[in-house]
């Protein structure tokens, strides 16, 4: 039966980690705009001039 105790503690720990990650992302504003990033990912960079780095 010890294995159940182990499993429960592991699963709870992982779940709590995910919750914390979610809350952290939320606070960073990652869920404020759900539309623009979905479009942005489709833009090609082929015409990119090389004197600026885009990802900052």
């Amino acid at each position: 039966m010890l294995i159940i105790a182990l499993l429960i503690s592991v699963s709870l720990t992982i779940a709590v980690i995910f919750l914390i990650v979610f809350l952290w992302n939320l606070r960073r504003g990652q869920y404020d705009d759900l539309y623009t990033p979905s479009v942005r990912i489709l833009f090609d960079d082929k015409t990119k001039t090389n004197d600026h780095d885009e990802s900052r």
Partner: protein
Amino acid sequence: METLQQTDLVCYHCGEACEDVLWEDSKSFCCYGCKTVYSILHANDLCEYYTLDNAPGVKQVTDGDEGAERYRYLDAADVRKQVVEFDSADFTRVRFFIPAMHCISCIWLLENLPKLAAGVIRAEVNFARKSVCIDFNPQTITLGRVANWLYRLGYAPQINLADETEIAPQIDRSLLVKLAVAGFCFGNVMLFSFPEYLGVDTTDHGWQRIFAWLNLGLSVPVFFYSATVYFKSAFQGLKRLEISIDVPIAAGLLALFLRSSYDIITSTGAGYLDSFTGLVFFLLIGRWFQSRTFESLSFERDFKSYFPLAIYRKAGNDWEAVVIYTLRKDDVIRVRNMEIVPADSILLADEAYVDYSFVTGEARPVLVKRDDQVYAGGRLIGQPVTLRVVQATSQSHLTSLWNNEAFRKSEEQTYQKIIDRAARRFTWVVMGLAVLTGIYWYITVPEQMWLVLTSVLMVACPCALALAAPFTYGNMLRVFGRYGLYLKNADVIERMASVDTVVFDKTGTVTHGDTPEVVFHGVMTPVEYGWVKQLTGSSTHPLSVLVTASIDVDAAGVVTDFREVPGKGIEGVFGEHIVRVGSASFAGVVALSETGGSTVFVSIDGNLRGFFEAKTQVRAGIDTLLARFKNSEIALLSGDNASGEAQMRELFGPNAQLRFNQSPHDKLAFIRELQQQGKRVMMVGDGLNDSGALKQSDVGIAVTDSTGVFTPASDGILTGSQLVNLDRFMTLSRSARRVLLGAFSISFFYNAIALSFAISGHLTPLVAAILMPVSSLSVVGFSILGVRFVASRLPLSADKKHN
């Protein structure tokens, strides 16, 4: 004014039909502005813009004196401080609101700003809010130049007083955090409750105890964090001696949590914590669903959003840009064409035309002479003028409207929501039942009394009832949004359902405010038309501008002896012919039917050829809309003079009240008068002059032809083209109420079943765990399908415009 299309070529940039085609790279453009944008993009290898969406551009409106000057005021130190979010020696962050943003190409182009403008480090678009966040190096490029770049691309940033005086509203993420915590705990509690559901191994009490305690631990954050909104709201309601829907909810949640804790601590049972956490989770979903509305629209705008942020003030021999609320009496300011006069002031130039249509509802621009007073909020038309301020913006004639008490009351206090009325009855019934049950069990099995009593309170928690309204109205809100009516919140739908009187504003609502229809009565040859256009084209008088726009013949002829007599008309000699355009006396005729100054007479060599008549153009479909209002009373308020009365009487029918020359205060008073007669009033208006009436009315709807521009504070914003569907929207809101009542009866049905279990003392955790989600889901399902059904039955056409 639409003129005949001579060609079916469309502009490569903006997609509008071209009148005079300009060519570049074998692509057609409608105007110089659009062509310029294309050239900029072409030169910088950014033509991918045109491949993402078809003709994605915004028609470029250039109004003369632009260039780098336009946004130079942003570089003045105190103006700059108002606008930027972060500022250091070599890094500045600014966020601009860009109403013109509407498609994928827009996002792409705006985010490629660093490639166009040297010094811009990064640009990031938030499409939902129509804003762009720009990081740049202030040593390489100034703020004014950044704004100017946006303007040149057709994405003029909107910068006004209100956006900058109030701190940008922080997005409220606490509801989502609460929802996340509740969801997390609910999921895990369910997991640990499974052994209980399945009745596994009841001999192994040790494990049951551990699971129960884990559940209790997981419920603590839900009780003390996620559910607090309900406890707070219920407590506040009780303090005011009002029973809202949150009171029975809070009682139910409290009973659930305390009873479960008691059961677990005394190890007499497994508790109902799965029901408890699930309930909070579902309730918060309802709240979240209802709160997600139209982010890029603002419903709380006052005059501040209408005024520009800065103005040029005379400082010695120079002009400096200053923030408007630093203007003091006797400051001398300069206002340019199409700019708003920011404070009540005295005109220092000889004359100017001021358009007050948005402020007073007066459709025609007013001629102001030297030393006359110009009121704040008027829009200057024509040459730049200087003015001397007599009163600061905050004390101006216009802003005094905002001191009215109508602007101070909050709506929640004046309106009793259906849900709260239902909740009150519900609460009394439940309390009565609880007392009766308590007495019964006290007599028969006294030791069971407390358990049964808490059970009754627990299942009486009107979770399904509380979910019905958010989902019905929240869904209806989205349906309305799809058809171009954007409401502030769900409560508006409820108030809209009870409206029995609709009051319309005239200018800008029933009529198109700024584009009157110009008709010529008489006969002229095309050559003569050309002469007239030549003459009117060189005058800035508002009527000349209208006449010029209405003539679709090219201006022609060589004019000699051009003469403009202010307030009278224009004269010019074409070869041997003397052409006079202007008032009846100027054109040399005795006016037979002078119609309030909106006619322009034309005479050639002293012979009257006819006259142009500028008629306010009624919105298409208004007549059929008004004809459909059989059950509601309708009325018209206009800030304009009574010259349009006959036309309006024809539209509104013999019984409607028509009032003209109404000041903003008169309009407010009229609405209040109707309300005192017991009417529920909807006000439909568009200008600042309607602000008071919109606020006072039960439902205030602001009409606009583009959701980007200023609309006064209101309960809803309606796209101009959808005004003809107003009665259908009202019908829909009444249908929504019927759907809601249907959902109520379903929820009462489930509550009755649950109560019968509770009263008889058979409420086990398993029964609660089944009943709770089943009732909630069926109510939510009914609401969503119901709304979809009633919406599909009405003949509405979707609004094609982007939000």
